[in-house]
Structure formats: structure tokens, C-alpha cells
Symmetry: C2
Subunit: 294 residues, 2 copies
């Protein structure tokens, strides 16, 4: 099978061809521009490539409710030209194949469940902590859509006792994203994350916020794996700090072996590395073929 | 179809017979005693009643992972005799019919989705706020189990600025249940909930905590309906207060009509009333018959 994959990011698009083993055979990348022009480049890439299906994991917010008139649209983004843009319909006009369509983070969660860190499991939660904080949710063998799609980057957390930072979220100020995204870290410390030493209070504070978010995910969703990706999580010293915060927050209440005895294998980095986004889109394409998403 | 339903509570058991329309045709209730004695009463009730299947919605924590050796057990409860008790196996010995087995709150969520406030929807979150705070989660047409089962009553919330109460949760102190369960309200104000006037600060404070929990549920799970039940929610003045807190917390970020324009129909009481628990168990029995839970 030849599966087309589109990783649509706010700053760049990656398109590729892969197969049902999750192997990427070809790829191309270009900056995200005006939507019509960008999709022309996408269409030019896939033309004559004879893909059997195409999966799209995209920045958002997007409409993923098949019964909605604006299904397949990017909805309220401030990104120039993309608000209320019929992303999926434009591609459907060009290619008569089954399409998978979901958020970038749901795609990443599915990719990790099919080929990555949550391989073979019927649930996982995928956090990306970078420019923003996004959450992909896969439970009982399905990606969660519901009313819109999960936006777990915006939950409220308690303030760290030594933190006087007001937060950066334009909607909520000091929600999780406002306190723990990459830009929040930089603004709080007036330092690039990559310039902050590994033993700096910044990381203990970061773990304090993420530890609350991950504990909330465990309590609300009971996932079989928690995957933490995105640029901020390149700071590997965060993993043991976050695991300790999670255990501290749960305090033995969730009596599952994964949490009590093997949390190092439970809260983990993505295992698909640089291919995570594209593999996620690939998995959406595969799922579209199997008729679970149209 | 004759469906058997068991609502297994910490203080009382309710057993009943119903049909696929959610109509309860017969019922019996007795106090929860030692497990062997209690299940003898359950078995005596269903004997000769010729039910086609039985659904059990029970207090917990319980094991609902069919692949686990302790599937069907009540696990770590402090309730005398019930810890590590093979609840489901005892009933399977007595009746050779399909069984549905889940938490009381998951049962209630399913009952509301099949016959109640979330009828026809493929997702809802059901909170019960009473002696404790429990959360049942139904998304993408399935009850969420995962690692254990959701325990969303124990998420951390921010303290109300005027609240000096330390919380009642033996595991977490000031988690949601520790701050907003019925016993927490009584202990904080040294008054029975039913004796606190409707315009008392107690209810604004309660809405402050529940508003954070409901906003977190929306952000993590994106459900199509939020149902708030349990003894504390008999205080009907809480509904508008909680809805206002939720809108305040989300601040327009979740751009769904249900939240922005019709929140009165989105955050609602259970519609099955006194039959909610038994109807939930009935729905589990029905689902067992359809082969989705065995």
C-alpha cells in the first residue's frame, strides 16, 4: 500500500509517502505560506505518486466532526488566510482517495500507538510541549474528538510557590500553556530554554506544572501510556522530575503497576523521533483505508 | 428481553429487572453487608427470574480489565470484607448469562447516554458529587477503562481565595474530592449541606471548585454533555453558578456552540432521577448482550 502523509504545521509542511509498516519512503518539506499556495505545493507533490489514501495531521483548531458543515476546515486560527479555510475539501478535489483528517497531536498519538512508544496498546495520551501545549488522546482504540477535540494544554494548574510569572496565554494567562510552553519558559527567565542549565530551578518548576497536567490526564483518562514530546522535552532531565511530581500528586491512589512500579516505562518520550508527525499522518491514512475515518 | 440490573453501593444494594427501553419492572433494595451474605441476597433475588443478562454498576475501586487475573474483583476498598473480593465470579457461578461489569459512575454515564440526558450522543461525562466525587467517562461510543478506570474526583484544583479549609481526602488532602465532596462541605462550614442557605458563600465556593473540574473535563475529553449528579447537586442553585465558572475558566477558547451559546443544555442534571443507578446497570446488561462487554 502507498500511503500519503501530510504533517501540516504552523511554520512548515512535511509531505511524504509511506507504507503500512510505518516506513517513510519519500518526503518533502516547505514553509507554510498562504493556504491556496501551500496546498498547490502539496498537490504538486502527490500528483502522479498514485497513493491509495492520504492522512492529514494538522495544526488547528480544526473541525473534525463529519456531520458539521465546516468539517475539514481550519477554524479560528490567527494564522493569515487560514481561518475558516476548507483544507480537506481542496485536497479532495484533487485526489479521489480516502482521507484521514485530525489534529497534529491526535495524529502523533495514533502514530505512537500503531508503531511507536504505545505500540499495541489501546490507549495513550500524547503531549507536545513547544510553542504551545497540545494533547492528543487515544482511548479504547479510538482517537477522541467529541464536541471539538481535546485542548488539554489549557487546563488550570496551581502556581509553583516560588513562581511570580503571570503567564503568556492570550485566553487564560496562567493556564498550563501560559506557564509551561517554550515561550513561557523563555519569557519567565529571559533566557532561551537551550541556554538554561539542566540543574536550574526553571526545570523543577516546569516539572511542577507538567506533573499536575500528567496526573490530571491519568485521573481523567486512565491511559496505558503517557508520551511527552515537543521541543521543551528535548531537555531530558525533565522526565525523572515529572515522574516524581506525578507520583507525588497521585500519592498511591491510582493502584496500577504502571504508575506504582514502572513509571519510567509509563511516562516516556515519543519513540518515532523526527518521524513522529509524518508517521502520525501515515497512521491516519492507514486508518482511513480501514474505513474507521473517512 | 429481561435484563437484570445490580446497583452495588457502599451503603445499599439495589437489584432490579428491566427491559431494553430502560423501563424498570421490579426492584428490591437492602443494606450492603459482608460480601458473601450480600451476594446471597442478590442471588436469591434473581433466582427463578430468568434474566437474559445482568449488568453490575458497582462502588470500587474495581478491576475492569478483562485480561487481568483479578478481573471482576473489588480491589483496595477499606469496606470490611470487600477488599480483593471476587464479586463478578461469585455471580457467574450462580447464573450462566452474559454479564456487564463496570464502575457505578461509568454505569450512570452509559445509562444517561442510552436513555437519559445524553440520549443519542456518543460522549458524555458523568460526575457524582456526594460522599465522594466520582467520574464516569463515555467517549466515542465507549466507556473509558484504560489502565484502571478514571478517578477524576481526585484532580488538583486551585484554592478559592477565601478558603482556608485543608481538605478531607486521606490521599491528597485538598484535591477536588477533598474540597468539594459532601463531607468536605459539612466539615468546612460545620453545617449539614441541607442546612446551608442557598445564597451562602459555601455554594459559590463549591461552584468555584466544580467549575475547574468541569472545565478540565471539557479540555481533556471534549464531551458532548456534562451531567452533574449526586446528593450535593440536589442544591439546584449550583447549576448556574458552575456554568458561569466554566465559561469564565474557558474564556471563549473552546469555540463550540454548546459551550458558548447553550451551556444551560450542556451542563445538566441527570434525567433518570432516582432510577439513574439502576438504569446504568441495566444499560451495562444490555451492552453485555450486544457483545460489547462480556
Amino acid at each position: 500500500m502507498r500511503i500519503g502523509a501530510i504533517e501540516a504545521g504552523g511554520t512548515k509542511f512535511v509531505c511524504g509517502i509511506g507504507n503500512e509498516q510505518g516506513i517513510i519512503e519519500d518526503r518533502i518539506s516547505f514553509p507554510t505560506g498562504q493556504p491556496d499556495r501551500t496546498l498547490e505545493q502539496v498537490i504538486a507533490y502527490f500528483e502522479y505518486k498514485e497513493v491509495d489514501n492520504i492522512g492529514i495531521g494538522t495544526f488547528g483548531p480544526i473541525d473534525i466532526d463529519p456531520s458539521s458543515p465546516s468539517y475539514g476546515y481550519v477554524t479560528t486560527t490567527p494564522k493569515p488566510g487560514w481561518a475558516n479555510y476548507p483544507f480537506l475539501a481542496k485536497l479532495k478535489q484533487a485526489f479521489d482517495v480516502p482521507f484521514g483528517w485530525d489534529t497534529d497531536v491526535n495524529a502523533a498519538a495514533l502514530g505512537e500507538a500503531v508503531w511507536g512508544a504505545a505500540k499495541g496498546l489501546d490507549s495513550c495520551v500524547y503531549y507536545t510541549i513547544g510553542t504551545g501545549i497540545g494533547v492528543g488522546v487515544f482511548v479504547e482504540g479510538k482517537l477522541v474528538h467529541g464536541l471539538v477535540h481535546p485542548e488539554g494544554g489549557h487546563i488550570l494548574t496551581r502556581h509553583h510557590p516560588e513562581d511570580r510569572f503571570a503567564g503568556t496565554c492570550p485566553y487564560h494567562g496562567d493556564c498550563l500553556e501560559g506557564m509551561a510552553s517554550g515561550p513561557a519558559i523563555e519569557k519567565r527567565w529571559n533566557l532561551k530554554g537551550s541556554d538554561i542549565p539542566a540543574d536550574h530551578l526553571a526545570w523543577a518548576m516546569q516539572a511542577f506544572y507538567m506533573g499536575q497536567a500528567v496526573a490530571a490526564a491519568i485521573l481523567m483518562l486512565s491511559p496505558k501510556k503517557i508520551i511527552l514530546g515537543g521541543g521543551v522535552m528535548h531537555q531530558k532531565q525533565l522526565f525523572p522530575l515529572i515522574r516524581a511530581e506525578v507520583r507525588n500528586n497521585l500519592n498511591g491512589y491510582v493502584s496500577a503497576k504502571a504508575v506504582l512500579d514502572s513509571i519510567d516505562d509509563y511516562i516516556v518520550p515519543p519513540s518515532l523521533g523526527d518521524n513522529a508527525g509524518l508517521c502520525g499522518a501515515l497512521a491516519l491514512g492507514l486508518q482511513a483505508m480501514e474505513g474507521r475515518i473517512s
